[in-house]
């Protein structure tokens, strides 16, 4: 009998070791996706029903609260800068030489007609701080084995009450995300691809955002260059830097 118990226990242990808990998975996803600070250059390709536009920008972000973005192209948007501190956003437009403040509901509006809101573009939240996960199954996304994890908000003050995330089993990177309203209506879908190893972590360089309630083919968000945990001077996150 003793001889039988030990192998059974070992088998259970090995199964457990193969399937980490949802919390562990989210923790590893956060380690890959979030950082103390990030500096990246990106290209946003907005596919509207009538046309396609490309906007290039450079962004600096620190934690969940501070973010700064400067548009590099097209010429019409070049020099436009955005600063987000907590839940307030300031936009500087060089054509008007004015800084305007955006907050509250306006932060949820789309950025330049894209499928991203200002919040989506400028925030870098740690999932574990806001959600509790539950593994709901497995599925293959782009030939990679994924866990399907349902994230339910711990606190009432998060944008999306529920999220469904398809996490790559080997690289701990979400390859697909679905964001749901409180009522269960699907609001946005994200498809993450071009996963590369950067500074010792896996990171998707391309994200396709789709506001499912809106017409159009979505918005591609491509990271051209990215650096994690670099030192960003504090003055970047001040209103004075908007007019520089």
């Amino acid at each position: 009998m003793r001889k039988l118990v030990i192998p059974v226990l070992m088998l259970c242990f090995s199964i457990n070791a193969q399937t980490p808990s949802a919390k562990d998975i989210i923790e590893k996803v956060d380690k890959n996706m979030s950082a103390d600070s990030r500096v990246f250059t990106s290209k946003m390709v907005i596919h509207n029903p009538r046309n396609t536009r490309t906007v290039e920008s450079k962004s600096w972000s620190m934690g969940e609260k501070k973010s700064y973005t400067e548009y590099l192209s097209p010429p019409r948007e070049q020099g436009t800068k955005m600063l987000k501190l907590e839940d307030q956003l300031w936009i500087f437009s060089p054509s008007t030489d004015r800084i305007i403040q955006i907050s509250g509901h306006m932060l949820r509006q789309s950025v330049m007609g894209s499928d991203l809101s200002y919040e989506d573009m400028m925030e870098d939240p740690h999932l574990l701080n806001h959600y509790t996960g539950k593994i709901n199954g497995e599925e293959k996304i782009a030939d990679r084995n994924c866990w399907i994890i349902t994230l339910t908000a711990n606190t009432p003050d998060v944008a999306y009450q529920t999220q469904k995330v398809w996490v790559d089993k080997d690289r701990f990177i979400p390859l697909k995300k679905e964001l749901y309203a409180k009522s269960g209506v699907l609001l946005k879908r994200m498809e993450l691809s071009d996963v590369l190893q950067i500074q010792g972590r896996w990171f998707p360089k391309k994200i396709l955002f789709k506001d499912v309630l809106k017409e159009g083919d979505g918005t591609e968000f491509q990271i051209m260059e990215i650096e994690f945990n670099t030192k960003i001077p504090e003055y970047i996150f001040s209103k004075a830097s908007l007019k520089k």
């Binding site: 509250g104 509901h105 509006q109 789309s110 998060v158 409180k182 309630l213």
Partner: protein, 391 residues
């Protein structure tokens, strides 16, 4: 005095075409001033009446954080309806309105919208909220004609609405447009959607809360309530009053131009009369009239131009103004985009006060303008005047 009037009238008529030209020009001034002021008064009256019926009622209590010109204030501008008001709300004597922001997706397009929840049983405002009672199965919505046209929404359409609750969490659902109302007040129509108050309170997780309490005209608003500020109609309708005032000031420039033209003609006629009628002036004085009486005669002659102009203006103006008052004046499309209540047709209001004031104003101005050149008569030597010598 009677003689002076008779003589002045005789002289004036005797002057023929010169008089009639003056009278015609002056009658135009009469008519245009009355018409323009009547139009502004009519617009003012219509705009205020409509705004009171659709939006402001007998004044409003605003939640202390509410600022209609600052959409950022909306996230904080809500609190529980004061218990002392609850009876009046349930009776429908106070219309409670909760305001928040959201997004609609009509036919796959994205559109920001102001969501307003209004008590279904309210009887104060013309918003047809009673329709909510008959449609309780889905989330019923009412929209104004302009919003419906701009977003190509029809009655019976199901639209996806996305909003954020009190905690900032996204929520979405379908709403059914159960009615489209026609209102001349753009501030209850443009970019807005009306839902039953209780449904919106539930959607926003704000039970028993409101942003605005519309007060009944008949109710006293002396009840002081903490966290709420009372706004009288004088304050709420200030934008209309200011606009009309601004338009009136703009109108004064027009009146000055018109009156200047007419007065210039009268002044010119008076100067010419005195110059050409020196023998006549000398004869009047020789016959025993004092200089003052002769000055009076010429002043009356000039002033009578305005009386004749008034009569002429009445002759062709009354039918014209009456027709406009009954048919109204059509306003250009898109006037509502300015955010003020502009009806499709504006009906001018000609009050007795307006007509009397205009008559008195023109009479007084004409008298002054007629008197100024006539003063020269007082300095004339009668003997020289009799000889017709130029003085």
């Amino acid at each position: 005095m009677k003689l002076l009037f008779k003589l002045a009238a005789k002289n004036l008529i005797g002057a023929g075409l010169r008089t009639w030209l003056n009278v015609i020009v002056l009658s135009f001034s009469f008519l245009i001033i009355i018409w323009h002021k009547g139009l502004l008064d009519g617009w003012d009256r219509q705009a205020k009446n409509e705004t009171i019926s659709w939006e402001t009622g007998g004044g409003q209590y605003w939640q202390e954080n509410y600022d209609p010109y600052d959409p950022f204030s909306l996230t904080e501008a809500h609190s529980g309806i004061p218990p002392s008001f609850n009876t009046l709300v349930s009776k429908g004597n106070i219309a409670a309105i909760l305001i928040t922001q959201g997004t609609i997706y009509p036919s796959g397009r994205i559109q920001s919208i102001l969501i307003k929840g209004i008590s279904s049983n309210q009887k104060l405002l013309k918003i047809p909220s009673a329709l909510f009672i008959k449609n309780s199965e889905e989330v019923p919505a009412l929209i104004g004609r302009n919003t419906a046209t701009d977003n190509r929404i029809k009655e019976g359409d199901l639209i996806t609405l996305r909003w954020r609750d009190v905690h900032g969490t996204f929520d979405a659902g379908n709403i059914k447009v159960i009615g489209i109302f026609d209102s001349d007040v753009p501030t209850v129509d443009m970019g807005q959607i009306w839902l039953p108050l209780d449904r919106l309170q539930k959607m926003m997780d704000m039970p028993g809360e409101a942003t605005i309490l519309v007060w009944n005209k008949e109710e006293q608003h002396s009840t002081i309530s903490q966290g709420w500020k009372f706004k009288t109609n004088e304050v709420l309708l200030k934008s209309i009053t200011d606009l009309i005032k601004m338009k009136s000031v703009g109108g004064i420039v027009l009146y000055i131009i018109l009156m200047s033209l007419a007065m210039l003609a009268i002044f010119d006629t008076q100067v010419l009369s005195i110059f050409r009628r020196q023998k006549e002036i000398g004869t009047y004085i020789a016959l025993g009239m004092t200089r003052g009486e002769v000055v009076g005669l010429f002043t009356i002659e000039g002033s009578l131009n305005s009386v004749l102009a008034g009569l002429l203006a009445a002759l062709y103006g009354i039918p014209l103004l009456a027709m406009q008052a009954s048919h109204g004046m059509s306003m250009p499309g898109g006037s509502k985009g300015f955010g003020l209540a502009v009806a499709d047709r504006i009906y001018p209001a000609y009050s007795l006060g307006l007509i009397v004031t205009t008559i008195l104003l023109i009479l007084l101005t004409t008298t002054i303008v007629s008197y100024l050149p006539s003063r020269k008569i007082a300095k004339m030597k009668p003997t020289e005047a009799l000889r017709g010598k130029i003085q």
